[in-house]
Symmetry: C2
Subunit: 287 residues, 2 copies
C-alpha cells in the first residue's frame, strides 16, 4: 500500500496530464483510506469552540495536534464518504445532496491535512497543494475541461504570460472560470480579487467568473485548546465593491460571518461547495 | 547598553506615539552600533553572485548565515553612516547625495536584519516589522506628518474601517501618501496594487500616491552560497496597467530588472530610496 505522501505525489503527476482522469478519483479514495487508517490510531481531543453552533476536535499524537476538525461535517463512516463520491462522479445527484457532498469532500480533505499536521516536518505547503489538486479535480471532472495555470496578457508591444490560479476554458460564447483554491484565506485573500481584476482588465469584465474555493477559516490555540474563526467580512465587501467582483465563494466548512454576506447589498455569493454541483449547469447556460 | 531587540521594541513604542520623535533617530543610530558590534565578531563569506555587476557576502556564525549583503552598498565606516544620517535629519541635502543616503540607510537596515538572521529563532517577522518602523520614520521625519494605519471606507449604509499600510495625510488640497513597506516583495506584491485600487475606488483616483518602499529582492542558496534576485517585471507591468498605478517604487538595493521599468512605456517609476529626499518637495507642490 502506498503512503499518503506517495499517493499525493502520484495525484499531482496525474493531474498535470489530465485532471479528469478517473484514476485520480480512485487515488483520492485510496488516500482517504490510508489517512483514516493513520488517524484511527491517534487520540481525539475536543476543543473549546468560540464559534457559535459549531463543535470541533483535534487529532493528537505524542508530539502534535492537527488543525481543528468540524465534528458535524466529519463523517465517521468511510463507506458513506465513498458512496457519496460515487454518486458525484456518476452524476447521480438525485441520490445524494449538497450537504452530503460537502461532508464527504470535507472529510477527505481535512483527513489528509490532519495527517500532514501530525507529521514531523511542520509542512504547511503540502496541505495547500493537496487542496488545489483536490478542488480542481472535482471541477475538471464536472466541467469536463482541463484547467490551465497561466494566461496570455496582451500588451501592444509583445505578449506576456501571467501565472494564474486555475482557469477553466469552457469554450466559445461561454464564460471562463477563474478558480483560486485556498485552505484558508486570512489577509492574503486580497490577491484573489486582484487577480480577478487583472483578468477583467485584460479580457473584459464578465469573461471570467471568479470562484474561490476554501476549506475553512478556523484558527486553533494549541495551548488553550480553543478554536475560533478569522473572518474579515467588511474587508471582503470593500474588495468586492472596489477591486473586482467574485461570482461565487465556496467553502467546505463555511463561516457564518461569510454566509451572512449573501444577505447584504450588494451581496457576495458564499455557498457550501456541495451546492456547486447542483447549480453548475444553470450557471453556464448561455451565461 | 540595551540589546538589539530591546532597542527595536523601544522604537516600536515610540513610533506609535509620534513617528517624528527625534529620539527614534537616536535609537536607530544606537541600534546600528549594537548590530555592528555583534557583526564585527562573526565571519564574512563571499557569495557567488548570479546578479550582474553586483557583489554580495553573508555574515556567518557557528550555526547560521545571514541574508545576502550588497558589498558596494554596505558602508564599513560607522561614522560615515552617522554623518549622512545627521545631514539627512538636519535637511543638509547639499552636504550629502542620494547615493550616500541610500548606502547609509541600506547599511543600517541590513545590519539589523543580519543580526536577527543569525539568531536562534528563525524569526522572519521581526525584520519586516523593523523595516516598517525604519522606512516610516524617515518619511514621517521628512513630511512632518504622523502616519496612520487604517482608513475609513464610506459605505452608503455605514462606515467601516479598513486596515492599510502607512498613510500620510499631507492636509487639504494635497495628495495623501500610501506607503507599503516590504523587505522583499515576491508574489505577495500584488497586494500593494490591490490596496492602491481600493484607495482609488473609495477616495477617487489621484488622491493617494502609492509609494512602495523595499529593501531588496535577493534570494540566497545557503548550500551553494549563491545569490540571485527574484524579479517579476512583466507581472508588475500587468498590475500597473490593470489594477492601479503606483506613483513610485523606492529600493535600498534596487534590482536592475525593476529599474529597467523606468524605460518601458507606460513606465513604472522605480528609484533608490535616497532619491526620495531630493524629489519630495517637488512631488507634492500643488500636486
Amino acid at each position: 500500500m502506498l503512503t499518503a505522501i506517495a499517493l499525493y505525489k502520484r495525484i499531482g503527476i496525474l493531474a498535470k496530464v489530465n485532471a479528469q482522469n478517473p484514476e485520480i478519483t480512485d487515488r483520492f479514495i485510496e488516500l482517504h483510506q490510508v489517512c483514516r487508517n493513520i488517524l484511527s490510531s491517534v487520540n481525539r481531543v475536543p476543543l473549546l469552540s468560540l464559534i457559535p453552533e459549531k463543535r470541533y476536535f483535534v487529532f493528537q499524537n505524542e508530539k502534535k495536534n492537527s488543525r481543528a476538525i468540524n465534528l458535524d461535517l466529519f463523517l465517521e463512516d468511510i463507506s458513506a464518504v465513498e458512496n457519496t463520491i460515487k454518486h458525484l462522479i456518476n452524476n447521480e445527484l438525485g441520490s445524494t445532496s449538497p450537504e452530503e457532498i460537502t461532508k464527504a469532500l470535507y472529510t477527505m480533505a481535512i483527513s489528509f491535512c490532519a495527517v500532514i499536521d501530525l507529521g514531523k516536518s511542520g509542512d504547511q505547503k503540502t496541505p495547500g497543494t493537496f487542496f488545489e489538486y483536490f478542488a480542481s479535480h472535482w471541477f475538471a471532472q464536472t466541467l469536463l475541461v482541463q484547467p490551465q495555470k497561466s494566461i496570455r496578457v496582451l500588451n501592444l508591444d509583445r505578449d506576456a504570460s501571467l501565472p494564474t490560479d486555475y482557469i477553466f476554458d469552457l469554450g466559445d460564447n461561454r464564460p471562463k472560470i477563474h478558480l483560486p483554491v485556498k485552505t484558508s484565506t486570512r489577509e492574503r485573500v486580497i490577491q484573489v480579487w486582484a487577480h480577478q481584476r487583472v483578468l477583467d482588465g485584460v479580457y473584459g469584465t464578465g469573461r471570467f467568473l471568479g470562484m474561490l474555493v476554501c476549506l475553512s477559516e478556523t484558527k486553533t490555540d494549541q495551548k488553550k485548546l480553543e478554536v475560533t474563526d478569522i473572518c474579515l467580512p467588511e474587508q471582503w465587501r470593500a474588495y468586492q465593491l472596489f477591486i473586482a467582483q467574485l461570482y461565487r465563494v465556496y467553502y467546505l466548512d463555511a463561516p457564518s460571518k461569510y454566509l451572512a454576506l449573501n444577505n447584504v447589498f450588494p451581496p457576495i455569493n458564499v455557498k457550501t461547495l456541495g451546492e456547486f454541483f447542483y447549480e453548475v449547469h444553470s450557471l453556464f447556460r448561455n451565461a
